[in-house]
Symmetry: C2
Subunit: 199 residues, 2 copies
Amino acid sequence: MLPDPIRKFIDIASSLPSIGPRQATRLAFYLIQQGKGTISEIMKSLAGLGNLKPCANCFFPHENTKQVLCHICGDPKRNKSIIAIVEKETDLISLENTKKFMGRYLILGDLKKGILESNQKLRLNNLKAFIQKEFGGKAEEVIIAFNPTTYGNLNALAVANELKDYAKKITRLGRGIPTGGEIEFADEETLSEALDKRS
Amino acid sequence: MLPDPIRKFIDIASSLPSIGPRQATRLAFYLIQQGKGTISEIMKSLAGLGNLKPCANCFFPHENTKQVLCHICGDPKRNKSIIAIVEKETDLISLENTKKFMGRYLILGDLKKGILESNQKLRLNNLKAFIQKEFGGKAEEVIIAFNPTTYGNLNALAVANELKDYAKKITRLGRGIPTGGEIEFADEETLSEALDKRS
């Protein structure tokens, strides 16, 4: 009974991650109510996304038309010999927001359990070539910044194995009780990591 | 640190109902990864929404270019003398899905607490004119299909008051324990309604 354009929109919107058919339906009627002005603004912002390119080094999207690097990889003040490998763009953003990391990144993309996909291997090969060319042999440090989950740990092992000849040091992010966390509610694994890593 | 097009998209997307900045950010990177093809499909489906018009009688959006009525209000088999007044388009869809209601609808739009906004009064006046013109005086029945919440009840009173001279009968949806619900977990209000309305 729904008009075709509404059904089509619901189909497409609910195929996006974490939008269900109910939310998509509400969204459709909301947008219809808002009218053409709002809709064309959203269309413009979508077109903007389509024009971004991935950075040739870290694969974070950027809009620089005249160069292949994003503003992090193109920044001469960053230490390119310390490389943080992250799964997602949002992980990179979170790390950048700490303002504590002055190296460069590599985004690998959504990880499957312990198996690197071919395009993820390509990105790692890209990094190896970069390390070889820039530093002759080994980078100072590779930080594998994956989530401390079973999957994250398996994938970290796979990546560490790939890069073992390309870095003087391969590290992972520190583990322990998060700021504001309560010992009473920390799981055993976290608490035993926190004991191990006490300082 | 985010490229402008990403920031703009996040701003707009997170201004939509029930999309937060985090979901909008994930969505942005997802769409960038999917690339121009997916993005232009979404843009097309958005454009489709922009071309819908509200039905002159019930205000449900439709795509009929040659007439002002939706397929429900334009259906000669529906009994236009029984009018269900709903808050949202999605309420209309839920009622239609029962296949039990053969009257017509009026969508009022998001209700504030017990106060009808001017454009909601316009829609009610539109209905009054329709009733006057089609039936001379009174419609057979007006069903006020608002949520059985405190707000819904207040609004139902306001609407019933507006329409008291325009319908032989003004009703609301039945109240009681929902199918599959458990008496043990029903709240007191629901249970006392179910007792009152036992049959």
